[in-house]
């Protein structure tokens, strides 16, 4: 096979050096009842030409966002990836390195992760960020578990229903065997978390209060209100963000009292790739850093005074503390933390702001367009939004999407798809824009809405 260098002659030389006559002898301690001598029931080996053809045929059966106008979002936003990012990302030095356990030969990866930590800390306005988590939902779960270790002996987690339903579902899955209760607080009429209900739900047993902003309805929440509700009862405040560009126009959670921020950073140079791999993040205050899950890179100098980076505070992790570790996470999202770092570096202070302003402006344009339609559509909530909002549809949401499809438009995410349990959200269509969405696409979508009788 092309990925195994040995010729048959070389293999024979190795076998004889090892002192066996055949490969079978190497497997002598495998119980003979289970060792198979016939090949597995797979197709014959295939060339690059054949495999590529088969894969391309499958890929062609997807609607791809570069050919369609897309208003899909709901936690995953298709922003532009700068051209150099995938090219540098596939350099073998980055792509084919392992976790940087040996700092002397891993300064490339370590430098980039330290820069990732710096970007996340700056954006969230918190002190410390880790080297990445798998993706947003598990990062959120880790934030809750971290809060539990910090508050000790408390038992209740108060979560806004504005937090992405998949994140909440994950929380229930991971916490199924812990003695915690999860209390979900509804959103109010404006689309933001019901403040009175939130305050009522928090008490002396509360570990943390979690809100997402912009929330799953696209509405910007008040970090400060969540923080006040939590801190008033000695609980911690967790802020979830899954559209990180919002932090270029909105104050970071850390600036408004949130203790731990967690979520998804895939907006920065990580392609949607049918939902993964993405890149989760987790950031917190300095006083909490010893409870942070996952890897952390620190900066120091070597014996010659050269700046050097190195994994640190490793005693928190599973390979040392085993069942007492802060998390079981080992492999995380190194390569996509690098993609995010590369993208943030080239966007920089100005590019971040300009991109965020384009997202905001296009969403406001679309919103104004929806409001101007005399027909059976309206903007569902009065709360401020960033690049995503919910449209209340008179006709069935499925019919709207079908008509969009005829115009090669992916017309948004029905909230019923991600939160089927929410009766009140059944007629809502969630639409999102990015800097990639041209005005013509937005106008075409508005034309589709206008085609429904008023």
């Amino acid at each position: 096979m092309r990925y195994i260098p040995h010729s048959p002659e070389e293999q024979a030389v190795l076998l004889s050096a090892v002192g066996v006559r055949s490969v079978d002898e190497l497997f002598a301690t495998v119980p003979k009842e289970v060792l198979r001598h016939e090949p597995p029931a797979l197709p014959p080996p295939a060339s690059e030409i054949e495999v590529r053809r088969a894969m391309a045929a499958m890929a062609a059966r997807n609607a791809n966002l570069s050919e369609w106008t897309s208003l899909l979002g709901a936690g995953l936003y298709a922003h532009h990836t700068p051209a150099f990012v995938p090219q540098l990302l596939t350099r073998g030095e980055f792509l084919t390195a392992y976790t940087p356990y040996q700092p002397e030969v891993s300064q490339g990866t370590l430098t980039a992760i330290w820069e990732f930590q710096s970007h996340v800390a700056l954006l969230t306005e918190l002190d410390v960020a880790n080297a990445s988590m798998y993706e947003g939902a598990s990062a959120f779960v880790e934030a809750v578990l971290m809060a539990e270790r910090l508050t000790k002996k408390r038992t209740k987690v108060v979560v806004s229903k504005g937090v992405h339903p998949e994140y909440r579902r994950c929380l229930k899955t991971y916490l199924a065997n812990f003695p915690f209760t999860i209390v979900e607080v509804p959103v109010g009429e404006g689309g933001a978390t019901d403040r009175a209900a939130l305050e009522k739900a928090v008490d002396e047993t509360t570990i943390a209060v979690a809100v997402q902003s912009p929330n799953v309805l696209g509405v910007v929440e008040s970090w400060a209100a969540a923080a006040d509700a939590a801190h008033g009862r000695g609980a911690l405040a967790i802020g979830v963000v899954n559209e990180m560009f919002s932090l270029a126009v909105l104050k970071g959670p850390g600036a408004l009292g949130i203790d731990i921020a967690a979520g998804e950073a895939a907006s920065f140079g990580v392609p949607p790739s049918f939902g993964g791999p993405l890149v989760g993040f987790l950031a917190c205050r300095d006083a909490m850093k010893r409870q942070i899950p996952g890897r952390l890179v620190g900066r120091t100098t070597d014996a010659n005074g050269k700046t050097a980076f190195c994994l640190t505070l490793s005693t928190r992790e599973q390979h040392i503390r085993r069942e007492k570790a802060t998390s079981n996470i080992c492999t995380n999202q190194g390569l996509f933390a690098l993609a995010a770092t590369m993208t943030l570096s080239v966007l920089g202070r100005q590019g971040l702001r300009e991109t965020a302003l384009q997202c905001l402006s296009k969403a406001e344009y679309l919103k104004a367009g929806v409001r101007a339609i005399p027909g059976p559509f309206s903007v569902a909530f009065s709360g401020r939004t960033f690049n995503e909002f919910a449209i209340h549809c008179g006709p069935p949401v499925g019919d709207v999407l079908a008509r969009c499809e005829e115009k090669k438009i992916l017309g948004g995410v029905p909230l019923a798809r991600i939160a089927p349990e929410e009766e009140g959200w059944r007629d809502l269509l969630l639409v999102a824009v990015t800097e990639r969405t041209p005005r013509e696409g937005l106008d075409a979508f508005l034309d589709v809405l206008r085609s429904f009788p008023s």
Binding site: M1, H6, E10, L26, F27, V30, E33, L35, P39, P40, P43, P45, A46, A56, A60, R61, L72, P82, R91, G92, E93, L95, T96, A97, Y98, E104, V105, Q107, T111, A112, E135, E166, C170, Y174, A176, L247, V249, L250, K251, S273, G275, G276, P277, D286, A287, R290, G298, T300, D302, K306, C310, E317, Q318, E323, L335, S345, G351, E354, L360, R439
Partner: protein, 508 residues
């Protein structure tokens, strides 16, 4: 006698003038006013964020990098050159299966239809992605013998946790979730951590003198409160559990599940179906056995295969074939729920299926050559390094530093010296039952001359331990940075308020 290393003369008048050395970080050299991107002109009226958001408005992310594309490309290219990678040479890191990453896999994962596919696109417009997931599950079923495979877990440890949660749900459905999970002392650290996060107490089983599970101790600790045994085959010593069938029999007799940590699947892929060994549930690391790149620490993917008893508990959604169409099935009432957003690390799944299709039915050659190469290195190095457990090796061999320690030289010194020879060191931090471990896993993708070069480097270092010990103890000498004072860093990082510039750039 102590030997002092003479530093090499600087090649430039001042080391700082060497442009091959990157500046430490893009945050260190602010270049106010520089831009790296140009956006299209705004084609809609500009919104006013200050008016919209009021007090919540943030005028800018101050302290962010300001750089041109050229600055950024050069920075990342230069730092990349400071990394050791499998593309450069044999990467001996045991348990990590650092094999060659075929570039075809990168190309297929970047096909626009896959890369630019949104997970919330309607199912009928996502048939390519769903078919890919279905086909990968089928292929993994063929290789493992399991009834179903979930592709959702994000990495190996996440697959372990998924497994532990399913085990618990299955026991709970029978009326008693049970309390304990047995884990051998040679296991990866993620095993006990994952069992703990599923709500289990971990009970350790000691290894026998052969390095395998001690059957007597297993039986003594197997009671009706044991939910599962988490076992690694071959174990972290590279030793196959010869008694695996008996172990499975005893575990099942107590109504417990046998969980297999598939981190070492590379030793028997295509040769043994884990389900045939009595395994009920197993995670696989696609970034190990199926060659998806490690990317400097992820992304991975940790699919989990299960026997029929655990199928009802799989995470949602599963991918089902209905006639010619592929659909997502969310209606699984006994499911443990969701382990992450969406459906898994899809891009990693594309790479893995590409790899499996490339090998097809010749995939047993992977295991055969991986085991052959490890045994070849064992043969070459046995005269020079101590082998604590001498049972037959599979995909990896675990030496230790017993002979060199007598000279005051430890595994870490040998590892660091190996860098000067251009190789990545072996694993040292485990198995915990081998102090001073040097765990070597060459994988099947190394040629004879690469194996020989590695062996000769190790042999040369064994000689240096006797003749030039200081050279070894102060290694590495040729790497971008020298050995770091990790204790000083950890002390600094632990201090209150030390976050900048230790754990992040100092805010400007």
């Amino acid at each position: 006698m102590s030997e002092t290393m003479t530093p090499a003369p600087p090649l430039t008048a001042d080391p700082a003038l060497d442009r091959r050395r990157p500046s430490a970080s893009l945050f260190d050299a602010p270049r106010p006013g520089r831009k790296g991107v140009l956006l299209p002109p705004l084609d809609v009226p500009a919104a006013d964020p200050a008016a919209l958001f009021g007090a919540a408005h943030r005028p800018e992310v101050s302290g962010e990098v300001e750089a041109s594309e050229v600055d950024v490309v050069r920075h990342f290219t230069r730092i990349s050159q400071l990394n050791f990678a499998i593309d450069t040479a044999l990467y001996s890191l045991g348990s990590c299966t650092m094999k060659h990453n075929p570039r075809l896999n990168e190309e297929t994962a970047r096909l626009a239809g896959f890369l630019d596919a949104h997970p919330y696109a309607p199912e009928h417009l996502s048939q390519g992605s769903l078919e890919l997931m279905w086909r990968l599950e089928e292929a993994l079923k063929v290789l493992t013998g399991f009834a179903r495979v979930t592709l959702q877990p994000s990495a190996g440890a996440n697959g372990e946790l998924t497994s532990a949660l399913m085990i618990r749900a299955a026991h709970a459905a029978r009326g008693n979730p049970r309390r304990h999970v047995l884990v051998p002392d040679s296991a990866h650290g993620t095993n006990p951590a994952s069992a703990h996060f599923a709500g289990y107490e971990v009970v350790e089983i000691h290894s026998s003198p052969r390095g395998t599970v001690d059957l007597q101790e297993l039986s003594a600790k197997l009671d009706d409160d044991v939910a599962a045994l988490m076992i690694t085959v071959p174990n972290t010593l590279g030793v196959f559990e010869e008694e695996i069938l008996e172990i499975a029999r005893r575990v099942h007799a107590k109504g417990a599940f046998l969980y297999l940590d598939g981190a070492n699947f590379n030793a028997f892929v295509g040769k043994v179906k884990p389900a045939d060994m009595g395994v009920d549930v197993m995670h696989m690391n696609l970034h190990k056995t199926f060659s998806t790149p490690h990317g400097g620490g992820g992304p991975g993917a940790g699919p989990v295969g299960v026997g029929k008893d655990l199928v009802p508990f799989l995470p949602v959604p599963t991918v089902e074939r209905r006639g010619d169409a592929f659909v997502l099935d969310h209606e699984r009432p006994q499911s443990i729920g969701k382990m992450r957003t969406f459906y898994g690390n899809f891009g990693v799944l594309v790479r893995a299926l590409t790899y499996i299709l490339s090998y097809g039915r010749s995939i047993p050659e992977v295991a055969e050559n991986a085991v052959l190469n490890a045994n070849y290195l064992r043969k070459r190095l046995e005269p020079f390094y101590h082998l604590k457990y001498d049972a037959p090796s599979y995909h990896e061999v675990v030496f230790d530093d017993k002979r060199q320690a007598a000279l005051g030289i430890h595994n870490i010194d040998i590892a660091k010296r190996l860098m000067d020879y251009g190789f990545h060191p072996p694993t040292m931090s485990f198995p915990l039952i081998v102090p001073g471990a040097l765990m070597i896993e060459p994988t099947e993708t190394e040629s004879k001359e690469e194996l020989d070069a590695f062996a000769e480097a190790m042999i040369a270092i064994a000689a240096e331990c006797e003749t030039r010990p200081e050279l070894v103890k102060t290694a590495p000498h040729t790497t971008p940075v020298t050995r770091l004072d990790e204790a000083a860093l950890a002390r600094e990082a632990s201090k209150a308020g030390s976050f900048a510039p230790v754990l992040r750039a100092k805010p400007r």
